[in-house]
């Protein structure tokens, strides 16, 4: 399945690029065409919207669950509203955006499938980044440690984790199939933000990719 994808090998090789931006955000930003209209779901402190605005001239909007995050974004002049990906996407009309981005948030939604379907209804393209639960460290912790994994990237104890719908890269590909999403591009990268070799087999990605970014479009 993944072998059909064009895989990119374009980005910086440190977790933080020279400008100080998080590499995963730069990888996401790289999938967005300059000058397009973008909705960022889970905007956090507005870092991705700032990058998109400054580097790619994007007309960006955001939704963020935490009030502190929203107020920080608005005070930066970003168009961000307080809202919940699980409930508020239904209010957006069809084709309102060129891209709808879900950065490191899919695993925290209650209904990932519905969220992805809304994303591809609201936007012509969807960009999804998520932590890969198939990474070898996570497999080791669960398989041999016998406990729920906890990593630098996913530091929570199971009882206070906001992440309720973990998936592996392989699992995500299944969701794309089920929702009729067409995979345009994909990148998997390790803890240091180094993208994996693009011609590696999919099991390699699923084992060594700590995070993944997918660019999707509507099929047909």
């Amino acid at each position: 399945m993944l072998s059909r994808l064009k895989r990119d090998l374009t980005m910086a090789d440190a977790a933080r690029a020279p400008g100080g931006a998080r590499v995963d955000l730069l990888l996401v930003a790289d999938m967005v065409a300059p000058g397009s209209k973008v909705l960022d779901i889970g905007a956090g402190d507005g870092e991705l919207l700032r990058i998109l605005g400054e580097q790619r001239g994007v007309d960006g909007r955001g939704i963020e669950l935490s009030r502190e995050g929203v107020n920080e974004c608005v005070a930066k002049g970003l168009a961000v509203i307080q809202g919940d990906a699980d409930t508020d996407l239904a209010d957006y009309p069809n084709d309102a955006f060129d891209y709808v981005i879900l950065s490191q948030t899919l695993q925290a939604t209650r209904r990932p499938r519905a969220v992805l379907e809304h994303m591809l209804r609201i936007g012509r393209n969807a960009v999804v980044s998520f932590p890969n639960f198939g990474h070898w460290k996570i497999r080791l912790q669960l398989g041999f440690g016998g406990h729920m994994p906890s990593t630098d990237n996913l530091p929570y104890a199971w009882w206070d984790s906001p992440n309720i719908h973990f998936c592996t890269i392989k699992d995500f590909v299944v969701l794309c199939d089920v929702t009729g999403a067409k995979m345009e591009r994909a990148v998997a990268f390790n803890a240091w933000g180094t993208p994996l070799r693009f011609n590696a087999p999919w099991w390699f990605w699923n084992l060594f990719g700590e995070q993944a970014v997918f660019l999707l479009s509507r099929r047909g």
Binding site: R61, V70, V74, A75, I81, Q82, P93
Partner: protein, 396 residues
């Protein structure tokens, strides 16, 4: 009640309505009538207003401030009636979030009010007497239509921003709906697209308090030399409670006694909170006209943006290029966050560019007038972002 001990000063209030002190006045003669939603024309009429800062050469840095129900145009300078400082000096001024060194701020007294813009306390030129209840019933849309005429007069085609809280926020929304091409950015704070049944109910209690005062005389109190001070004070006391919150009242007053150790077993103002409300009522009647209170509360009651757009609020903002920043407060139960969220949903549905922040405070609806650093940061950030998009230089 102590409010009746002060001599009524109806004459001075009538003077302020016709010839406002320390204000600019735009007069609209018979050739420029104001077409009202009630189906009649108001003519002649006048608008009292204040400006702060300097209009730039491109005439692109004007910010219109819309005041609330009992506010006025003295935003950032001493109020000639009360002698107190402007009602939004924390927000508007040099270096403040609405920075008068950068923006040209205009605040008109609203149509139907009593501080220099034509309203029921103004002299009806046909009779030479105060309008009273002869004054036509007005709407928020009428207020905004009048303000648009003022901007025409000032030769300002486009506003950089329109900002206001409560009834001011309603005007902001109406501005964006009626004149989308003239509004670059909009800041509706603590408001709603329609007045709720509960809010209409509170207003009705206030109006009934005014009208139940025998001195009201069916609105002809100026002519009859009376003043419905008790009624208006009671209306204000009731309304004032709705502007606060239970936690704020508790924090401020609790059950503390006023200048006494024990209850007096009478109906004196034993409690601090009673004394406070009586003071609010009595100071309000010094500066506000009872009939204006009836008209302006009515205008708010009639406000229902969806009704003008096939019942769908989103249609009011269809294709809007305006940048919106909607703000609400957690403890505001008069215009709760759900109302602001409804505005945001409508704006999203119409594809508008919108920011929305809810601010945590126990100060209730009045929080928009008070020291709220988070509100200041949000207004400053929103306007900065809009100014960049508008190509406004920092500092004029």
């Amino acid at each position: 009640m102590d409010v009746v001990d002060t001599a009524p000063d109806a004459a001075s209030r009538a003077r302020e309505a016709d010839a406002p002190r320390n204000s600019q006045v735009a007069r609209f003669g018979a050739e420029r009538p104001l077409k009202l939603d009630a189906g009649v024309e108001l003519s002649p009429f006048q608008i009292a207003y204040k400006t702060y800062g300097t209009l730039n050469a491109e005439r692109s840095n004007a910010v219109l401030i819309c005041h609330a129900l009992t506010g006025d145009h003295h935003v950032a300078s001493v109020n000639p009636v009360t002698g107190k400082s402007g009602w939004w000096e924390t927000m508007v001024g040099p270096g403040k979030p609405i920075d008068t060194e950068r923006y040209f701020v205009i605040c008109p007294n609203v149509l139907g009010a009593c501080m220099g813009t034509t309203g029921p306390a103004s002299t009806n030129p046909q009779t030479g007497k105060p309008w009273g209840l002869e004054f036509p019933v007005i709407t928020v849309r009428d207020m905004v239509r009048a303000q648009a005429m003022l901007l025409d007069e000032l030769e300002i085609a486009t506003l950089f921003s329109v900002a206001g809280g409560s009834m001011g926020g309603m005007q902001v929304l109406q501005w964006a709906a009626s004149y989308p091409d003239r509004v670059f950015s909009a800041l509706p704070i603590a408001c709603a697209t329609r007045h709720s049944a509960q809010n209409i109910a509170f207003h009705e209690v206030g109006r009934q308090a005014v009208m139940a005062d025998p001195e009201w005389r069916h609105g002809r109190y100026f002519a009859e030399g009376t003043s419905p001070r008790r009624g208006l004070a009671v209306a204000r006391m009731g309304a004032h409670i709705t502007y606060l919150s239970d936690p704020a009242l508790h924090r401020k007053f609790g059950r503390k006694f006023q200048d006494r150790e024990n209850p007096t077993f009478s109906f004196d103002a034993d409690f601090e909170v009673e004394s406070y409300l009586r003071h609010q009522g009595s100071s309000f009647v010094e500066r506000f006209d009872a009939n204006s209170y009836l008209y302006l509360t009515r205008a708010m009651d009639y406000f229902d943006l969806a009704a003008d757009y096939q019942g769908v609020v989103a249609n009011a903002f269809r294709g809007a290029e305006t940048r919106f920043c909607v703000v609400s407060f957690t403890s505001d139960w008069l215009f709760p966050t759900a109302e602001s969220r409804a505005i945001v949903h409508a704006l999203n549905a119409s594809g508008a560019r919108v920011s929305f922040a809810e601010i945590v405070t126990d100060k209730g609806h009045d929080a928009f007038l008070l020291e709220e650093p988070e509100l200041f940061a949000i207004v400053r950030g929103f306007l900065d972002g809009a100014a960049k998009a508008r190509g406004l230089k920092s500092g004029s």
